[in-house]
Symmetry: C2
Subunit: 336 residues, 2 copies
């Protein structure tokens, strides 16, 4: 959504719309919820605020009076059915994101990423059959890339329980779209960065913990370092989600997001240090525990979604890192 005219059109599309954002106090969810408020939508955010996940009340700082917050758990189907009343659009972002946690506690990952998703879809089918659903899936389900860039025809071969469960959930969304005429769109996100991401640990993205290390004056700890990755700015991801929500004619297939900027982890760390103006990094071998779920190089082809929706990322990696560093420079105590 680059030119002003499309931005104006987008605002008209959202005025007064009743929207639910699951995981809406998390990193991407809160950024989306804030944008939706600015566009005039009536926004409800659902977030259980469980401490090990990305929810943080400070993420909606300044917007507390402009949206409704519900801290029910997505696994609670009774709460869900009430929440769906009158909703036009659901952005379904709630999830367990840590690959390592999914291996240590696979049943919790299953409960959040699959059982709760199925309950949400069942509730939509029964209580809100006209709703538009946008589901945030992940590049994690491709596993270790066989060819690069990875497009949607790449074989699916998750390297962890999280990838298997996210695949199930997106398949449920697309199945319910086909069988029950629910309207659903699936976006497979790559690494997303920006203000409001979890930086307490690496549960959401390793960049989070790097930001914290840098701002706390500790060396950035890089595992391996030569692995290539692509990154989307969170505002570009929000653009993609808004487009996906508005266009009900998008086919019920998964769409990759992605970026044209690809960078090695060690170069990313160096760029962060350069932008911060100081800092250090230490490269250590990839930890044994994580080796079996490492995917090597990864970057996406997002041509399918660009062709279908016109979306393309417009914020540079440099811009994303600058805005992220600036945000945490001011708000570190709210997140660390």
């Amino acid at each position: 959504m680059r030119p002003d005219s499309s931005h104006t059109a987008a605002a008209a599309a959202w005025q007064g719309r009743s929207v639910l954002v699951t995981g809406g106090l998390g990193f991407i969810g809160s950024t989306l919820a804030r944008r939706l408020c600015d566009l005039g939508a009536e926004v409800t955010v659902l977030d259980s605020l469980l401490p090990q996940y990305g929810g943080n009340r400070y993420n909606i700082n300044g917007y507390e009076d402009r949206l409704h917050i519900d801290t029910s758990d997505l696994r609670d189907s009774a709460a869900l059915e009430g929440l769906l009343n009158g909703k036009d659009i659901i952005f379904n972002l709630a999830g367990q994101t840590s690959h390592l946690d999914s291996m240590h506690d696979p049943e919790t990952d299953l409960a959040i990423n699959v059982i709760a998703q199925l309950r949400l879809l069942e509730a939509c089918r029964k209580r809100a059959p006209k709703v538009r659903l946008v589901y945030a899936s992940t590049r994690q389900l491709y596993g270790k890339p066989l060819v690069l860039p990875v497009d949607e025809s790449h074989p699916i071969d998750p390297v962890d329980v999280n990838g298997i469960n996210k695949l199930s959930a997106e398949m449920y969304h697309l199945l319910y779209a086909k069988v029950y005429d629910l309207s659903a769109c699936v976006l497979r996100l790559t690494n997303t960065i920006g203000p409001r991401m979890r930086i307490r640990d690496a549960r959401q993205t390793f960049v989070g913990i790097w930001i914290r290390q840098l701002l706390e004056g500790r060396p950035i700890e890089v595992w391996g370092g030569e692995q290539l990755r692509d990154f989307n700015d969170v505002e570009d991801v929000v653009d993609a989600m808004l487009l996906a929500a508005i266009d009900r004619n998008l086919p019920p297939v998964p769409f990759n997001l992605g970026s044209d900027e690809v960078i090695s982890l060690v170069d990313l760390a160096k760029l962060m240090i350069e932008l911060h103006g100081s800092g250090d990094l230490v490269v250590t071998p990839y930890p044994e525990e994580r080796k079996k779920i490492d995917i090597g190089d990864y970057y996406s082809c997002y041509d399918r979604f660009r062709s279908a929706s016109g979306w393309q990322p417009s914020r540079s990696l440099r811009h994303s890192l600058q805005s992220t560093l600036a945000y945490y420079g001011e708000n570190l105590c709210r997140y660390a």
Copy 2:
């Protein structure tokens, strides 16, 4: 396992082996359990005997004193851990098989076909890390074939909740094999027929209800009729499972079973009537409720498993139908 010599070798391999068969009072599970007893294995069958599934005590008629029966539910992880003690091999056949039930009650399908499977794998990892697992998956996860015959490189696109859940379970098995060095093999079964299949309704296979209709003097009710299918005799499937269990060097990838005999549904019904010596069939349009989860023509390519293991089916469709009709001619009252 065609020649006598390999049969003798197989018997030596099984003598005294401690084996668990989940779903072991069901159609394929009980046929496998009986064969394992004959080969000298120490067999435990786990089967919750829930009435809507395939378990039937009569399936082990004559073998009651030669195996141990446990009617715990696979979803009960406490029961599971005790059962695994000292087991060499687990044939993991327990599952919800009805495509239609999986749409009407998706959460039960998820509980049995995914949650319980994950618990079994976690229990194996903790209590029986040296065990060999053979998981019975299904061709259902391919969805509507794009090319025929369907080999393992065919895209995965389940048309129902059951297909999505079976995919998750097989991915869990293969993931645990790769990450935790559990030894696991996944077989994707096509339509399997033979004595002891469920004939009360079409929950396990439509051929079951056809057998019942024929033997009760009612017309066979064929939906559509032109759809092509392949069928494996249950004894050929048991052969495949025994091979998969013994050869720990098989790669941790899914293997199709399948048959070289492909037949349309209407021709299958006619063949059954011919073999029975009487009967009638009525062709009706495909029911609206099932249309969206119909897959059209399907038959498998089983070259990957043939190359890897030497398996190929040796019982003709005619033989399978004859043995099945003979079995239910004698035992109809135990199953109808």
